[in-house]
Symmetry: none
Subunit: 165 residues, 2 copies
DNA sequence: TGGGCTATGTATAAAAG
DNA sequence: TCTTTTATACATAGCCC
């Protein structure tokens, strides 16, 4: 429609795409309102543009939840349970990740190392020595900076040293 | 449109309403497809007619659940019940816990310590020294055990030393 | 209920501001 | 980039089958 016919495939020019999106979004929202008023239809329309901004229309006197409940009954698909399962899986994954980090942290702090064998202890020792040398190096660097920058210099800030003032 | 303009209010004649519903339903479904193809939009359209029959359109490469997830994030409204909200909260909590452990682990390994101040570096050094002394003590203990228990003793197992055999 | 058929109103692509 | 304009394509109300 309009000045020229276009074929229905992705609009490559992104500013054209944006303009078309904006216009058609308004158009389809209007159509959604019209059909629900004219024909007593229950409509739920949710649109995300490429920018991520959302637009929605839900028929009057109803809610998205109502529509989704009907959707589940009409389609036989379960939205809640599927969602529930996804969340549970995510939680399991996070908990496992958490546990292993927890253990690693404890080991690095010298806790709960009774069950470790000699090889593992050596690897742990290496990791700690590495960390320690990194930290000491950084400490010395900060210390050198402290000495170079007397208090009052505009490059000196107590907060860099953890001081209160 | 068509042979005469109509105003946007409920069509009282039920057979006209039904015909108009059927036509406009097809129209809006087509529009939904078009905008998602033309503009890369993510669209979810669910329609119930008076008869109760459902029609839907979801953009390709996505699912209603994905759209609803985005809807919740974008609108701040929660669709799933309290149970799901609890699960979501749990996920948030675990993610935060995860993040802070991640950071702590990195620090203990001497990574990402540029932003730490002197006080924090000292605390880190202490923690590392503690861990190291714990690990070394344990190592020596294992070593003493190794010397006491010659190979072949029924109390000796190579696995305790990380050996392959 | 569903599919043609137009005449007509709308939506909108492209251009212009 | 956004709005406005305009010519054109599209959607559809009313009608018939």
């Amino acid at each position: 429609m309009g000045r020229g016919k276009i074929e229905i495939k992705r609009i490559e020019n992104s500013s054209n795409r944006q303009v078309t999106y904006s216009k058609r979004k308004n158009g389809i929202l209007k159509k959604a309102k019209e059909i629900s008023v004219l024909c007593d239809a229950q409509v739920s329309l949710i649109i995300f543009g490429v920018s991520g901004k959302m637009h929605e229309y839900i028929s009057p006197y109803t809610t998205l939840i109502d529509v989704l409940d009907r959707y589940q009954r009409a389609s036989g698909k379960t939205l809640w349970d599927a969602k529930h399962e996804n969340l549970s899986n995510e939680i399991d994954r996070l908990k496992k990740e958490n546990d292993s980090m927890q253990i690693e942290l404890r080991h690095l702090k010298g806790e709960d190392i009774t069950s470790l064998n000699y090889k593992e202890l050596m690897a742990l020792e290496d990791a700690l020595e590495n960390g320690l040398s990194g930290v000491r190096e950084k400490k010395m660097e900060v210390h050198r900076m402290f000495k170079r920058n007397v208090r009052g210099s505009r490059f000196f800030h107590w907060k860099d040293f953890g001081g209160a003032k």
